[in-house]
């Protein structure tokens, strides 16, 4: 059973994904802004994080950069889940250190498969 962190300011999406992830057998930690999310990641060390980009206080991109800079969090798999869909955005997101990039509107089923795949890959 893995711990998945979910950082998104959209409460409806968070609650929905939380239900789905729990049903799939994972433990879920939720935060609604970048700063709280980063603090939670440092504190609880999840196995994977699903991260929104446009958030108050600290954007997903900045969280990404912070995680990659942090020696202890560096290996954390990050999936960016965002409405920003331009090519340039995808490039920025991936070069900031995200492992995967899912554009909203998204398919929860597909997102879940990506989560499982990532978790398998990182050996959890």
């Amino acid at each position: 059973m893995s711990t998945i962190a979910l950082v998104d300011d959209d409460r409806d999406i968070c609650l929905l994904l939380e239900l789905k992830l729990r049903a799939a057998g994972h433990e879920v930690l939720v935060e609604h802004d970048g700063e709280a999310g980063l603090a939670m990641m440092r504190d609880r060390r999840p196995d994977l994080v699903i991260l929104d980009w446009m958030m108050p206080r600290l954007s997903g991109l900045e969280v990404c950069l912070a995680v990659r800079d942090d020696a202890e969090l560096r290996e954390l798999p990050i999936i960016l889940l965002t409405a920003k869909a331009q090519e340039a955005d995808v490039e920025r997101g991936l070069s900031a250190g995200a492992d995967d990039y899912v554009v909203k509107p998204f398919s929860p089923r597909e997102l879940l498969s990506r989560v499982e795949a990532r978790l398998r890959r990182s050996g959890t």
């Binding site: 409806d12 609650l15 929905l16 239900l19 789905k20 509107p105 398919s107 089923r109």
Partner: protein
Amino acid sequence: MSNAWPDPLLLMAAVTAAVVLMMLVAVSVGAVLRARRHRAAARRERLATTIRPLISDAMDIADGAGSVAMDHALRALSRSAGETLDDLVVALVPKLRGTERKLLVELLRRRGTIERVARDLTSRSPRRRLSAVEFLGAVDDGSHAAALVRLLDDRDEAVRLAAIRALGRIGLPEAVPALLGRLDRPEPRRELPRHAVTMAVLRCGSGSADHVLQSLRHGGAASRLAAAQVLGWLGELGAAPELRDALAHDTSPDVRAAAAEALGRLGVPETAADLVVCLDEPHPALVRVAAATALGLIGDTASATGLAMTLCTDADLRVRLAAAQAMARLGGPGLSALRVLSPVSPHAREVLRVTLAGTPEPPFGALLRTPL
């Protein structure tokens, strides 16, 4: 004068009391509103907690047995629970795609919500019409597109704008002729903003390209302008011949400028020659700027000569600047030409300096279309 008047001190006290009372009323009103808001939110949250698992299950239905069970659960919902369900689903649907989204929309259809809301399209209250339009736009029900098109003529501005947005979100290419055509019928005080219409047409995607081309060929000035813009944004390479035609022959300078911009985005090298022709003086400044910018985007080095001429001789500062920026984008030949010209052209010097600093130059906006 003052024999029957009340004691002034008493009066003062009364007035002070009145003032204090007013203040207390204000605070109470504020407190009551606040409490009501919190209670409503708490109530909604309580309901939502019971309903969310239902929604989650709805997205997993794989077979007929599942739908029967779902129907059963839906019927068991109270009215307020049902309304909360509708609200939650409507909030979620635009954020999702794929099977889950289809299943959620199906859920609403089963509950009869879609039909019920669609009846509000003809309601007398603009607020209800507005909510209905937005609901239909969110849940992607193309079967009400005709009604939405009629609402493009609604009395209420917000409803008209919402109808445009809804048609865009539904994304039916068949609605495009109505959208673009409406631009040509400027009912006073009921105009549709071009910005909103082009966004909706863009959302309808490449499937609408044929309709857009029709507008470019046969529409009025307003729809031709919108059509040219959209074709460029959509990246419709097949539209290049029509756009070249519009660039050369359209009667409206706005449309010609838009065609030039679109050709720039399409980036077809064969169109460069037509654009170079448009760099000359008889063409309005608007068109010359658009042509120069487009040449930079296309990147055909053969246009460097034409751009250099414009840089040296054009009367309008913005055209000269656009020419210099375009030359920088051409790379080698363009940059050498700029260097050659820099003793005589301050624009050349500026652009070279910017290029050497390694920065992309700030974009130069299209000239104003509707002057004061």
